[in-house]
Symmetry: D4
Subunit: 219 residues, 8 copies
């Protein structure tokens, strides 16, 4: 679909061969492949297949985020006149935050990162407030009690998307408390599922596209 | 806070006197009051109090959505150059959809309604597709299995916000299946909590404000 | 039991030796063995045991669906005058859909497959509508938000059985949202448990048997 | 839609006026109205409205099942050559079983009732086995532990639909244990949601329609 | 028990007569009665009974917190050299916060209140930081996403007890998200059950007693 | 404690060395060791340790039930004048049923087994009814929908203990539906936790001890 | 059924007329009626109906336990040589404990009550230990954290049945924590559902019957 | 932060290299590192890194509790005039109890252990009562039904912190029943999450610091 969210292959529960075949089709039809939640074996299969079928494709594996992106030699990435901020509470939030960053980047928006500003030390967050406010839309990733998106949304005037992260153990662990807390937030926060960096990034990308179009109309 | 989401009083669990007092303060400080999830008794108390303290305040009670809005005589409502679509699956979705519409309207965006296009009769939805596509951002309210936001998000190129509605009975009833289904959607959907029309509307309003600003920059 | 659902061995939680013994008994008493949710080790044990005890048994392992079927040389498979359609949303639905297909086939009905018609791209579904409508009863497998059975049931006039699939992660993952969504469907859908391809297939097979009998009464 | 499941109005969460308006529209467009989960006030509103707008409409209120059905004077109810059995475990199952019976009847199939044969006294069930077996498709309603559908499905060769009932208290109460038990059944049972008599009846009606058509083809 | 937590009558699920009888016994044996979660009818019964049996007892009903306390004429309330702070996020937290305050007060500690400093407007919280820090132990009540105790615990060096409040609706409502969020907190927070103001207050009171004793040892 | 339930070591979450040390202590103080939910490595460690410290101890490992029992040379096992029946629905119930049998046996009662009489084929159960009725107390193990204990309790006049088994997948899997179904049973059934063969066996053993004592009082 | 658990009518979800009709049938066929979880209106209807149809029936309403029992003039209640102890943690446990006591009494065993010995004050429990130990089988009712049955089972050598009570609020409230705690007990405890006094009493009664028979065999 | 809870690295979900880097930073900035929930590989990486970067650091790995602590040569551990008791129900509670002990110790308080006093054998607990009472604040770890903290809190006059442990299987297993039971406790107990020894220890340490300060003020 021209203009919307790029197709992405979800690695979960697919064999390396299946993922590689889908990747080859994606490169053939769109000049690009994005695959999320991939394993090393799936990435290796993609590399082999694209080397054979689509030589010259540049492949970038963000190992920490389990995302792989491939661009055919002639692929022209989009460029949007819009800034997306990605804020994280701690290092454990890196995986889905990185997934979100990859999708936002592939959709063409500029990505700014503000890391390690969890609510248990609110001063670090306040120190970075100007950085945070310099964006058009903000994704906030947080695990455990997931309070950071609420605090950020109370400090900015732009749309904030909460991204719960599957950290924490015991009652409400694996991101459950974070997800429920974001759904209960008394701010104008929308939420995606636990670890759904793709979804958060894609929604931010869509907002960025709207802004880019609105700005582009300026003569 | 100038520019962001307007304050709103949540009626749940407050006495009529408390709601009325908060309403008077709101009118005094901002020229406006918005209260959601209000009962008839709360609305009556607001009316009495504002008639006494702030005569001339116009009060509008959207009874079907349990929202009441009051404007002081000199209040100047904002006007945004942006369109928000609100889509519902069936008549039971009217309450939170109306709540969302009220907030979007108070934030100054234009609101378009596309009702009764639930997924069990996909033809009705397809008939209204052009209407739906004529908006900058779309809120989709749906209860029971909550599939409508996913289907809509697959058909448009703009940001879609899912609004689960507390219909349905038995396993997954009261909006649980709808909320989980929206969180599991394979589209770029963000979600708010069950019946959280305010949140959906406020997020749509923030996106509208960004678009308005972007468009406004045109000379 | 003559006429009803064929016995099937559930591989889960049994040792290879136990499954093999049950398989040998099944072939001895009914001329056929069906085993579901089997591992490679269980299949190997079955093969060895049947080669020893029941030479000549043809064995077919649908590895992708974890189903193994064996027919003694003289086994006469049933043939029913009825068509069962199996519809899937995406490739992750292949495992339980294949399990259902195997059971339907063993019960003697004709099986038609309509794959990759998930609700996020409703056009692909509408393109295949005539194919879908060409069946007497339809099984629809879908994971994540599990909306496809509802959409299909709104488009056809025959019984539809929803088969939730254990895909998705986070809140409502592993098929929970899909199962709850199917139970909440506002159509005439019945449901089976998550990944219960056997059950969906067996119920479809029983309907096919009734239809076959009704048609067979025609002189 | 000609041939499929008749439209039905769900009373839950609608005002009497809304239900009455929908009923009038239904009689006007199809000659019939079916409303489920209705209150006395809703039924009164329907009666008044239809008396005014569609005089001569015969109205039948199954008070015990909260179902109301109205036929315009010229409405010709369908007649199917098929028998649906409805089995209940105890008197508390009467409400959803009656809802199912109403829908099956409106779809034109013959309805047979076998009541009070719960699994705690298996002898009563076995006494009625011939009655049960005299049907083409069987709905089995049961609350609390919900075991009856499994036992019945083990005794017959035709499709069985489990209908969990919202009885029971404490852990697994309100039909949860019954619904989960039916989903876990090791027979070829399909299930509907708790108290979803409409859904069970509609699916049984669809199977009956298929059988009627198959039988009708006989010269 | 001399020195520990005072006995309190839990009004839930008792008749007015039962509560009144228990109150009379408490005054007789300890000179004091504390009853929580009481209804108006229960308070009236207590008043009547104590007026008859223990004339002169002073009774104080904190209606907003559903707590009633009675002191016999000769009852000598304890006085502890310790300060307990009670912090609330919003007005809905008043009920359990007031319950906690009542217990702390009856145990003899000084109570300081810091209200309306919810995390969605972090500036208000920071404005009150010196007030908050002026206590030996702090109870923080918060509903919905329940993030306030975590933020406070990150800002002070004394023990903080989280008190989740049964506000919020939809997924994680009625205090569930708040309770899970506090259990997931990455600070040194301990937690009590939803609305368990008594428990939070009693634990704070026990810490205050320990501090009082330690301070008392000073010559 | 003389007379009551024998101590048993729960293998879960202990190292082989810890289990072996506990086993040695048990043999030393009581002449016997019983360990449940043991792994092969734990059993090996027990064997080595007892061979060294308590030569002559006879060790019996019921591998299928993960139970190991050791008797010192001079240990005199109890003998009770009472019969405990253990009924299973299918082969997957063997593990906890065997655990229960081991405990009952160690407490001295006679154990009778009635296997493979699941409710999906009620005839097999009725065939074994006399066998079942020949016991003083009956444990019934069943997984998935867990209906067998209810059916058995409706057919006998003696105490029945339901033992839910962790079979089944999807919604209500891993014994949840079975446990909830037994708790909801409309018979005089008591229940133990999922797979808690030890508990079921110990309670049956205690009843057997009471009966033995009552019978023993006969001159 | 001669000898087993007496039939009892469950009042929940039945109209007064239905309960009264079932009561009349019960008196007619067995000389006795037992109805549990009854409302005042149901009891009144029973009284009127039995006065008319079965004059002379003595009716006893245990209002605090919502149990009503009627004996026809010639009904001979059973008498068993066995003692059942019923232990409660607090006054809120009275309702299900009373229900259990009524059933045990109707089955003919002697009932001993040991009340108000909750685990938060273990001394009161130890004071009553001889009383508790003077029974053949013990039912222990406890709400909130439900620990009392475990403590009791650790102190006696006879069968203990845990009866969780629907007290408590917040997370694990309404008896959930109590039920789960009893299922997790490391003693030989069996459990019934929350508030299921009937089930606990009936199981205790069955054990009493077995003991009575064993004792009766003494010459 | 001077004075409060020491920073600790949570090993969960971090690579060995990441944990080692964080450890090096901690030693550099504070002279100490504490890491919890660590694996052997993480400990090895820490050792290697500190040996290289901070030679002379003494490292202590409490393998049974998965805690590693490192002190730089010049690190001066705090010493508090306060006693924290740590009580466990059984050997499975050792892991989180040890984690709590490590944190308390690092904060400078004296730690006393009272082990193996679970509620199923209340006599062992009463035997140790004087030992338990000799502390200023008490942490009680318990799994399965988690009743021990309630019983202890009923026997002492000082603050008690419940620490639920992830033992138990089936319904309410993995610490769920224990956590819910502690939240439902009718004593003045506060609770931390399942296995959250760090949190329990840190809160106890904060109370100890307050007491130390209060005692220190004595001239
Ligand atoms: N990490 C992700 N999380 C959620 N959705 C995803 C993710 N990656 C891809 N998707 C969506 O899932 C679809 C792919 O599903 P599949 O057909 O199973 O590969 C894509 O079109 C995306 O819309
Ligand atoms: N994949 C499956 N899912 C659900 N039920 C199954 C499946 N395969 C077999 N069954 C049913 O489970 C029964 C076998 O259970 P078992 O005795 O454990 O082998 C068969 O008779 C089937 O009715
Ligand atoms: N399989 C089992 N299931 C439930 N409880 C058990 C089991 N085996 C032993 N137990 C009980 O748990 C206690 C042992 O717990 P532990 O101290 O962890 O070894 C024993 O005293 C038994 O009462
Ligand atoms: N075992 C533990 N359980 C709970 N919280 C912990 C634990 N260990 C460390 N923490 C807290 O979690 C924070 C570390 O989180 P992280 O940034 O992911 O390393 C520390 O500052 C502690 O407050
Ligand atoms: Mg956070
Ligand atoms: Mg919908
Ligand atoms: Mg789907
Ligand atoms: Mg039933
Ligand atoms: Mg909050
Ligand atoms: Mg079963
Ligand atoms: Mg208790
Ligand atoms: Mg315990």
């Amino acid at each position: 679909v021209r203009g919307g969210v790029p197709e992405a292959i979800l690695g979960d529960g697919k064999t390396p061969a299946e993922v590689a075949a889908l990747a080859a089709t994606a490169v053939e039809t769109t000049g690009r492949v994005i695959a999320t939640r991939v394993t090393g074996a799936q990435v290796a299969a993609i590399r082999r297949r694209l080397a054979a079928d689509h030589p010259g494709t540049t492949i970038r594996w963000r190992e920490r985020s389990n995302v792989v992106v491939g661009h055919a030699p002639d692929f022209e990435p989009p460029r949007l006149e819009a800034d997306v901020g990605i804020v994280t509470a701690g290092t454990s939030d890196a995986v889905p935050a990185g997934e979100a960053a990859a999708i936002v980047g592939e959709m063409g928006a500029r990505v700014g990162r503000i890391d390690d500003v969890g609510v248990a030390g609110i001063a670090r967050l306040l120190d970075r407030l100007d950085d945070i406010r310099a964006h058009d839309v903000i994704i906030v990733a947080a695990g455990r009690e997931g309070a950071l998106p609420t605090v950020v949304a109370g400090l900015v005037d732009v749309p904030v998307i909460g991204l719960p992260v599957s950290t924490g153990y015991g009652q409400g662990g694996d991101g459950e408390a974070a997800a429920l807390g974001m759904l209960q937030s008394c701010t104008a926060l929308t939420t995606v599922n636990v670890d759904a960096g793709f979804t958060a990034g894609a929604q931010a990308g869509l907002i960025a596209r709207q802004l880019d179009a609105a700005r582009g109309k300026r003569p």
